[in-house]
């Protein structure tokens, strides 16, 4: 919860260090294990968002600034459908989560398509700053649109999937691998598996890779580049919706502003992994999630954003292509 809270509000409203006293009591390994689990599940969420950034950057060479906000929209759609299903329809457990996930992905994909159609497609071939400004504008629009439509108040959601497996119990401290974290990791792996198949083994994936390498040439060879780019946005938005849903289910509180920080961090993850590289994005996401979690656990919650951003700066200085940037041949 603490993590979610300062992911939401930024670190300045954080007034305590979670678990600090437990760590001091000498349960070092158990504490670290718990942080590892937390870090991986957070990193998976970042990874899912990062894939969207890296795909769009790979294919049209722009930072889709509104992507973080599409993630936020996904979280809101998930929230609304959960209230509808669980409170209204009396559904529970995995079936409900599956429907919520699909709904969120579908509507978010529509958002991704619309954003591309309205704000980016008319600017294709324009000078480089234009789509960037347009994307920043779109990000402002989405944030304020959700704020007006859904209110500025934080939405707290009761756990949909409570409980978990106790991995280790020491005096006063339990290492728990919650069902929700398992779900996040399983769902992320599943989604990424499907996505990898889509990119490597389908005509659409081939078209995407072709556009990434040389858009003009791809167009000359009969690939509908506009359609391919649209679908890239749609897929990216659907992945962001998965991330948004997982975020909501895991942390239980969302508001209209969660997209910005999550977006910047996911972009950091994409850069860290090597922009354009899909496994790199997931790897980068995991690293950022782990670094952030461990940094908050052992050093200071307040400066955990600084940690994430410093990693970004350091990566770009010493490893401009990212971890898997050049070595990875296959890109989208």
């Amino acid at each position: 919860m603490a993590l979610a809270r300062d992911l939401l509000y930024g670190p300045h409203r954080e007034t305590y260090r979670p678990h600090r006293e437990i760590w001091d009591e000498g349960n070092g390994v158990a504490y670290a294990l718990q942080q590892l689990i937390n870090g991986i599940s957070l990193g998976m969420i970042y990874g899912l968002i990062a894939v969207g950034y890296t795909m769009v950057y790979g294919i049209i060479g722009m930072i889709n600034f509104a992507h973080g906000d599409v993630f936020m929209v996904g979280a809101f759609i998930a929230l609304i459908s959960i209230i509808m299903l669980v409170a209204g329809g009396g559904m529970e457990g995995m079936a409900a989560i599956l429907i919520v996930l699909l709904l969120s992905m579908a509507i978010c994909a529509l958002y991704g398509w619309t954003v591309e159609r309205i704000a980016y497609r008319p600017l294709r071939g324009s000078f480089r700053l234009a789509p960037l400004i347009s994307a920043i504008g779109m990000s402002i629009v989405l944030q304020n649109y959700v704020q007006i439509a859904q209110g500025a108040r934080v939405k707290p959601l009761n756990p949909v999937l409570p409980g978990g497996i106790e991995l280790h119990r020491a005096e006063g401290f339990v290492v728990q691998f919650s069902y929700m974290q398992m779900l996040i990791i399983a769902a992320t792996l599943l989604v990424l598996g499907v996505f990898t198949w889509l990119v490597t083994a389908t005509p659409l994936g081939r078209a995407m890779r072709a556009c990434e390498q040389d858009r003009k040439m791809a167009a000359l060879l009969g690939i509908d580049t506009d359609r391919t780019i649209s679908l890239t946005f749609v897929i990216g938005a659907a992945l962001a919706a998965v991330a948004g849903t997982m975020y909501l289910l895991r942390y239980g509180v969302i508001d209209f502003y969660i997209g910005f920080l999550a977006g910047v961090k996911a972009f950091t993850a994409a850069v860290l992994g090597g922009i354009g590289s899909l496994p790199g994005a997931v790897l980068g996401g995991l690293l950022i999630g782990l670094i952030e979690t461990f940094w908050s656990a052992y050093f200071s919650v307040q400066y955990k954003d600084v940690a994430a951003f410093s990693i970004l700066v350091l990566t770009l200085i010493f490893l401009p292509t990212g971890l898997l940037g050049r070595a990875e041949v296959e890109k989208v």
Partner: protein, 434 residues
């Protein structure tokens, strides 16, 4: 989607079909987010409130807009290359510049203008100054900076801390704040020397956020989220402005009726002078070797390096110069507000300043001034609309970019030319590319 001639169906039918599609999409978009509002019940649980009438309005709006857009787009002959506006606009700019300047100088003496108009003028001029400052980095040197507000913050905090801790006067702090900000600019510049384009943008954004997080968390130094209060207000070269008059005050010295307006008018002229200084310096530097090096670096870094231009110093001076003006503007902001907190230096500010520069057309100082006036003025005029105005602001950003991607003034005048200086299209220069 595009209006191909192969389609035999009449325009209206086609427009109707497109509009119907748009309406369908709009239903998908708005039904969950607008139609079902999640609210927190008194007992803490969430429930949904249905608002289908709003969805209906939005869907109708989407239908109508798309219908009109398709209909008009089909009727309108394909527009030839731009240039329709450029020549008249440029000529107007030559007249408009001095006229605008005269208006701005005389603004405090316009009878019906009171406190509100002056405050608005100060705000707009602050953004004009920031826009001109950022234009050095983005427009001249071609370095995309998304964290410009960090230097604004450094300037504001420099002044606030120097003034409240050591009791330095505003006129000592102003150059110091500019110097410290320039130093911060160099500090940022060093690690990002090798970066270009979007990478540079994201690193500068990260830098801006780092500065903000430090301001928030280093509470013993910066006051944390509460900020710094009681920042000394400026004096007229030692003569304080006090509403009650009294011996030694500004009004007393000049034998004027004491009025709270004096300080506002002074602040207005102060920021006007600072903004004009920014303009003057950047216009002068453009023609000097340093400015030419900036523009050459913007167009082609490798060619530049081959010709013996030191890219390191060229980039660092651009960052430092841009940051210095942001710092000066920041210390003005601090003295004007009397209170600063990290809330004022969020990413959105950087985005607004960059938007002003891009919307104004980066080649034109007048364009940037107009863009600042339109955006900030418009933003303030719609203050009553609360959260809606930010939405409108975002929509405006997207719409203006889609309609005029090169900004209001999309022609550029080369700084140096062989025979005669001719206006060229904005697409021929590499602003914001590096």
């Amino acid at each position: 989607m595009s209006g191909s001639a192969a389609e035999p169906s009449p325009r209206i039918v086609r427009a109707l079909r497109e509009a119907g599609l748009a309406a369908l999409v709009a239903i998908g978009l708005f039904a969950p987010i607008v139609g079902l509002r999640s609210d927190v019940a008194p007992n803490g649980s969430l429930y949904l409130r249905e608002r289908w009438d709003d969805v209906a309005i939005l869907v109708a709006l989407a239908f109508g807009l798309r219908f009109l857009a398709v209909l008009l787009a089909l009727h309108r002959p394909p527009r030839t290359a731009s240039g329709r506006w450029e020549e008249p606009l440029r000529r107007a700019g030559q007249v408009l510049g001095p006229l605008l300047l005269a208006f701005v100088v005389l603004l405090p003496f316009i009878p019906s203008f009171g406190r509100y108009e002056l405050d608005l003028g100060i705000l707009v001029l602050t953004y004009v100054m920031l826009g001109w400052g950022l234009n050095i980095v983005v427009g001249l040197a071609g370095l995309l900076d998304l964290g410009y507000v960090a230097f604004y913050a450094v300037g504001a905090y420099s002044y606030a801390l120097l003034a409240t801790t050591f009791g330095f006067s505003f006129w000592i702090c102003l150059p110091l704040a500019g110097f410290l900000s320039a130093f911060a600019g160099v500090l940022l510049g060093f690690p990002v020397l090798r970066l270009r384009g979007d990478y540079l943008a994201i690193v500068t954004l990260a830098f801006g956020e780092i500065i903000r997080v430090i301001l928030i968390n280093w509470a013993s130094f910066t006051g944390g989220p509460n900020g710094i209060t009681g920042i000394p207000r400026p004096s007229f070269f030692g003569l304080p402005f006090s509403a009650g008059g009294g011996p030694g005050s500004f009004a007393d010295f000049f034998g004027l009726e004491p009025s709270p307006l004096h300080r506002v008018i002074f602040l207005y002229y102060l920021i006007l002078a600072l903004a004009l200084l920014t303009n003057w310096v950047s216009m002068r530097i453009r023609r000097q070797p340093l400015g030419r090096a900036w523009e050459a670096m913007r167009e082609d870094e490798i060619a530049c390096r081959s010709l013996g231009i030191n890219i390191t110093t060229t980039k660092l001076t651009a960052f430092a110069m841009g940051a210095m003006f942001a710092g000066i503007a920041g210390s003005f902001f601090a003295t004007r507000q009397g209170f600063i907190s990290p809330e004022s230096f969020t990413f959105i500010e950087s985005a607004i300043i960059l938007a002003i520069v891009v919307l104004g057309g980066m080649g034109s100082q007048v364009g940037i001034a107009i863009a600042a006036a339109v955006m900030i003025g418009g933003f303030e005029v719609f203050r009553d609309l609360q959260e809606w105005r930010m939405l409108v602001f975002g929509i405006a950003m997207v719409v203006i970019m889609v309609l005029r991607p090169r900004g209001l003034v999309s022609s550029r005048t080369p700084t140096v030319a062989l025979a005669e200086r001719r206006v060229i299209a904005g697409s021929l220069v590499g602003e914001g590319h590096g």
